[in-house]
């Protein structure tokens, strides 16, 4: 990549970042609106008759729930971005009174561990499977794998998780049923690994099903092209053609897929985490929605949204870097 393209890429990145600003504001307005325009609020759960009306009014005042919506939004939005230096930037959790930022930061390692491992497993499995299928297109192996992929793709995550739990943890007692560690075994690595197996398998089955289909299609597309025929006709060994010529080009679209998957590394897989009570961000988000813990929900949704925007940007930039044919 020459100097000129480097500069082009930089200006493209800056342009895309500027374009992302209204979208970030948009997702903030929408998530804030959904949370605050709905009937009922956090204070309602104290209206049991045991708490006096004066106390309830006091609570409403303390939490600023009596201020006009735009004021509440602006306060929340400007405060939100001070999170690197301000541990109260995302407010307090309504349910346990802790700063939301600390609550969320505490969940990130678990999510990173789960999503990172499953992404690694997915890449390691899906790429060779896809290549094999493309090279041996229409063979029995290809047909069987395609069928399995279709079923894997159609399988709802939580159902797959339940089945795995039932088979491997209830019946065979091979792996723990839920959580990330056994009580009293804090930081014990084999223990964490054992807890990791089932959730990672759940995620990997579904991701491998999607990715290998993608890889197969991408590989077939490349193998139809002229330069592959040229490579073959100059007498190159089949394995060389696949490894040196086809694979490198077939991997380019996978880079995009990777960029689009990265957001989930942080925002997590809400359903899988919930099935296995994995103490990650997705599980935190789901429980917070159910408990109407607005500040936590808002933070989780915002992180998810911003991650998607960054992931898209990253995918486009990575595409430009690996594929010299693309100019911006």
């Amino acid at each position: 990549m020459g100097k000129g393209t480097g500069r082009q890429l930089a200006s493209y990145t800056i342009r895309r970042l500027i374009q992302a600003i209204p979208i970030v504001i948009g997702i903030s307005v929408i998530s804030f609106a959904i949370v605050y325009l709905t009937p009922g609020n956090f204070v309602d759960k104290f209206r049991t008759g045991r708490v006096s009306e004066a106390t309830i009014q006091n609570l409403i005042h303390v939490y600023g729930l009596d201020q006009p919506l735009p004021v509440q939004f602006w306060k929340w939005f400007t405060n939100f971005w001070t999170f690197p230096v301000n541990n109260l930037a995302w407010g307090f959790s309504f349910t346990d009174g802790q700063p939301v930022r600390d609550l969320i930061f505490a969940r990130i390692p678990a999510t990173l561990l789960l999503m990172g491992t499953s992404l690694l497993v997915t890449i390691v499995l899906a790429i060779p499977i896809g290549i094999m299928q493309a090279v041996k297109q229409y063979s029995w192996a290809d047909k069987i794998i395609t069928t399995l992929e279709t079923i894997g793709y159609a399988m709802p995550t939580f159902w797959l998780g339940l089945i795995l739990k039932q088979l491997f943890s209830v019946q065979l007692k091979l792996f723990p049923l839920y959580g990330m560690q056994t009580l009293g075994k804090h930081g014990d690595i084999p223990d964490i690994l054992a807890h990791l197996v089932l959730p990672v398998t759940t995620l990997a089955v579904i991701q491998v099903a999607g990715w290998s289909r993608y890889m197969r299609a991408s590989m077939l597309e490349v193998m139809r092209q002229d330069f592959i025929r040229t490579a073959r006709s100059k007498g190159l060994a089949s394995s060389q053609v696949i490894r040196k010529h086809a694979l490198r080009n077939a991997l380019i679209p996978i880079v995009t897929l990777l960029g689009l998957t990265i957001p989930s590394l942080l925002s997590g897989a809400a359903i899988t985490e919930t099935v296995f009570s994995w103490p990650g961000l997705g599980y935190l988000g789901v429980t917070s929605v159910i408990e109407r813990d607005y500040p936590v929900v808002l933070a989780v949704v915002m992180i998810g949204g911003v991650m998607v925007i960054l992931g898209n940007l990253l995918a486009d930039i990575a595409y430009a870097v690996v594929d010299p044919r693309i100019h911006y």
């Binding site: 979208i23 949370v35 809400a270």
Partner: protein, 315 residues
């Protein structure tokens, strides 16, 4: 007209079996089949799509017929029946802990799930067509604005949006679930319709309608929307699978329909409580879910290929 035919390179021209193909002149004389004849033939040639179509019909018919045949059986509890009862013709899947006939409950659940999927997809198609056609026809600033809105909705984590809608507007209501899925899922349909409209706007028949002095609303509603519907039909068919799974996920997370109402999702949740003693119970609703998803996906793929073989929609 025979459905078998020899395909020539160009779509739209085909020869009935037995037509001598040696003479080139004959080709031009063969009448071109109508669009719908071609669509039907292409669809019938796709074995997977036909199987999916039949499966979908079986599922829909079963979900309507069995709840009618069974009457109240899907929620009638009984003290004389239980999980230990032998399987019989009257209760092919046995009875659950409350003495409810599992088979009839499953069929009722299928009915609920399919209806939620169907109505949610109707909303998706409606909003998608409205937004997409306005954006594609108006172009310029309006198009830009609407497409940014699509970007925003697409950036938000989808499941959380649905969860928030349902949790905050009242869980346990089928109507809220339908609207939650519909109001968050229209973006793909909108993009597809917009793309079709951008293409159609420049086409001869739209230009002709314009030249004849037709009003904008007439051009859009009478001329363009019917031509742009094919991708919406495909996306909607594929969308049924998503909607049914989303409903099940909501129930699983405790925000879906609550018993005594039955849905595939809440049956799965219920089965989870009997994880140890009744391991088979999670398979019944799960397999139903997979069947719905497979039928809808292959039907959607088949329709896409039949309606327009050149167009591959990413959905």
């Amino acid at each position: 007209m025979t459905t078998e035919g020899i395909r020539l390179g160009q779509p739209g021209i085909s020869l009935p079996v037995g037509t001598p193909t040696g003479e080139v002149d004959e080709v031009d004389l063969v009448p071109v089949q109508t669009y719908w004849q071609l669509v039907r033939r292409r669809f019938l040639q796709n074995r997977l799509a036909v199987i999916a179509f039949v499966l979908m019909i079986v599922l829909v018919v079963a979900s309507i017929a069995f709840p009618i045949l069974g009457g109240n059986l899907w929620f009638t509890t009984s003290l004389t029946h239980g999980p230990t009862d032998p399987v019989s013709l009257a209760a092919p899947l046995g009875y659950d802990n409350d003495g409810i006939n599992i088979f009839f409950r499953l069929m009722r659940g299928l009915q609920t799930s399919l209806s939620i999927g169907f109505f949610a997809v109707l909303i998706i198609a409606g909003i998608g067509t409205a937004v997409g056609s306005v954006a594609g026809y108006a172009g310029g600033r309006i198009d830009n604005l609407l497409m940014r809105l699509v970007d925003i909705v697409l950036s938000l984590p989808g499941l959380f949006l649905v969860l928030m809608f349902v949790a905050f507007l009242g869980s346990g209501s089928a109507l809220v679930i339908i609207f939650a899925i519909g109001l968050t899922g229209w973006t793909t349909a909108a993009r597809l319709v917009r793309a079709e409209f951008l293409r159609l706007r420049e086409s001869d028949f739209v230009q002709a309608a314009k030249a004849l002095g037709a009003s904008d609303s007439r051009i859009v509603i009478r001329h363009m929307i019917p031509s742009a519907l094919a991708p919406v039909v495909v996306a909607s068919t594929l969308g049924i699978a998503d909607a049914v799974v989303t409903e099940a996920a909501l129930s699983f997370l405790g925000l879906g329909l609550l018993p005594p109402e039955a849905s595939l999702g809440n049956m799965l949740t219920h089965a989870q409580d009997y994880f140890y003693r009744q391991p088979l119970w999670i398979y019944y609703p799960g397999i139903m879910l997979i069947l719905v998803v497979l039928a809808a996906s292959f039907l959607g793929d088949g329709l896409r290929d039949a309606l327009d073989p050149r167009q591959r929609i990413e959905a």
